[in-house]
């Protein structure tokens, strides 16, 4: 038991402030669409008949590129539940990491709806603090390590629940005793009730911090195999029709919808292919992706495969972190659980400070 106490104390102490930051910044991220509405940054597709004809994707690209002359297409994506808007990301080169621009284009009228800001604004700050502390991959891996400590602290905390509760009924909070006892009981109650949820959200968060590495592994293996026949070919001087490429991908996977298109030269395609990533339409398959590689000149599908298990596992784990898979009620419950875990973190810190101060006072006496 002494070991568990030590583990709980130190794993918690090291990660608590970072976990507080993650819980606090995660709160607005749960509602990023709703906050986007309030800030007026969300793309609003005007009402039209559901079967209103779509403009050609080549036209969509023309409109987006005209907004940022000199930049080329990097990605074009659609929200899972809204095929009326194309989000086009433009960059100086296909592998640029800075100075990216995004334009939201109405898929039916070809009009620009809004220009989402990728590198400033309130949500960008919340997102960066939550994901990498503005410190790129090292920041992300650091938060991943803090997440691992959280998991240690959750497991050791669950073990310590038993000795504390041996003489108490489930759910007892001894309010009549000192504030320390009351908050100890609350810490134990809220901690044990939210334990599994907190563990799953923490664990999937840790998985996400490793996402870049997993995706790189996939790029170096499956994707590299899929584009191998084109190795050594001269670079393209001009791209073929995106509309034709996407039509070919839709014909190859008729039961699926486009999630995003990676333009030739990005890390999700090859210098000679459009990488077209499709998703299914059931609760589960809408979270999974299937890459369809289309020759960027001839618009022929050259390869399509299921993603390997580790990539699929990563994709499936993401909603379990975001809480974005059960509509508005689930978002609200996610936020409430988040607030409860904040109380667990703060009360844990408070209990440690009280004990620490009591100990120091005893020593001084």
């Amino acid at each position: 038991m002494r070991t568990w106490t030590w583990l709980h104390k130190w794993s918690s102490l090291v990660c608590t402030l970072f976990m507080l930051l993650l819980c606090l910044t995660g709160l607005p991220l749960i509602f990023h669409h709703e906050i986007g509405e309030l800030l007026g940054t969300e793309a609003h597709a005007p009402e039209m008949a559901a079967d209103a004809p779509r403009v050609s994707l080549d036209r969509v690209m023309e409109v987006a590129r005209a907004r940022h002359p000199g930049k080329g297409g990097m990605f074009a994506s659609q929200e899972r539940d809204d095929d009326r808007v194309w989000y086009v990301t433009l960059s100086d080169t296909p592998t640029s990491e800075t100075d990216l621009k995004q334009v939201a284009v109405d898929a039916r009228s070809g009009e620009i709806l809004t220009e989402p800001q990728l590198d400033n604004g309130f949500m960008y700050i919340m997102f960066s603090l939550h994901v990498n502390l503005f410190a790129g991959l090292p920041g992300m891996l650091f938060l991943g390590f803090m997440g691992l400590l959280l998991l240690v602290s959750l497991v050791s905390g669950a073990v310590l629940y038993a000795p504390f509760m041996r003489k108490l009924e489930f759910g007892s909070v001894r309010r009549e005793r000192s504030p320390r006892v009351k908050w100890l009981d609350l810490h134990n109650l809220l901690g044990i009730v939210t334990l599994v949820w907190f563990f799953v959200v923490g664990f999937t968060g840790v998985l996400n911090t490793g996402a870049d590495l997993l995706v790189q592994h996939w790029q170096n293996n499956q994707l590299a195999q899929m584009v191998a026949p084109y190795r050594g070919q001269p670079p393209l001087t001009r791209l073929g029709s995106l509309e034709a490429a996407v039509s070919a991908a839709r014909a190859a996977r008729p039961d699926m919808a486009v999630s995003f298109v990676a333009f030739p030269g990005t890390s999700f395609s090859s210098p000679h292919h459009y990488g077209i990533f499709m998703h299914g339409d059931s609760a589960l398959t809408s979270r999974l992706l299937v890459p369809v590689l289309v020759d960027a000149t001839t618009a022929q599908v050259t390869d399509t495969r299921e993603l390997p298990w580790y990539f699929s596992a990563l994709l499936i784990s993401r909603p379990l972190h975001f809480g974005d898979y059960g509509g508005r009620p689930m978002q609200i419950i996610w936020a409430l659980l988040d607030v409860l875990t904040i109380i667990v973190l703060v009360s844990g810190l408070y209990l440690w400070l009280r004990k620490h101060r009591a100990g120091a006072a005893k020593e001084a006496a």
């Binding site: 038991m1 002494r2 106490t5 669950a158 629940y161 038993a162 000795p163 504390f164 509760m165 041996r166 489930f170 759910g171 007892s172 909070v173 309010r175 609350l186 109650l189 809220l190 044990i192 009730v193 939210t194 334990l195 599994v196 949820w197 799953v200 059931s282 609760a283 589960l284 979270r287 499936i316 909603p319 379990l320 898979y325 059960g326 509509g327 009620p329 689930m330 419950i333 996610w334 409430l336 659980l337 409860l340």
Partner: protein
């Protein structure tokens, strides 16, 4: 704090038995709530419609338990 040893040793099986018995009431609700959490997390992930509602009820129950025991129940 130190955990009191459960029961004196009676050898393998008896010991395990005694321990499990002692722990059942203590862990009954945490285990039930853990199962409720998993049902809530998975049902909306694997299916839509009715199963979203199952998720809301299951995960909402966690919040309700916290609020009830933590703040509403007095004395």
């Amino acid at each position: 704090m130190s955990a009191r040893r459960p029961l004196p040793h009676h050898g393998g099986r008896a010991h395990r038995h005694g321990r499990a018995h002692r722990h059942r009431p203590l862990w009954r609700w945490p285990v039930r709530l853990g199962v409720v959490t998993l049902v809530g997390l998975l049902s909306a992930l694997l299916a839509d419609g009715f199963w979203d509602v199952v998720s809301w009820l299951a995960l909402g129950a966690l919040v309700a338990v916290c609020v009830f025991f933590g703040w509403l129940r007095r004395g």
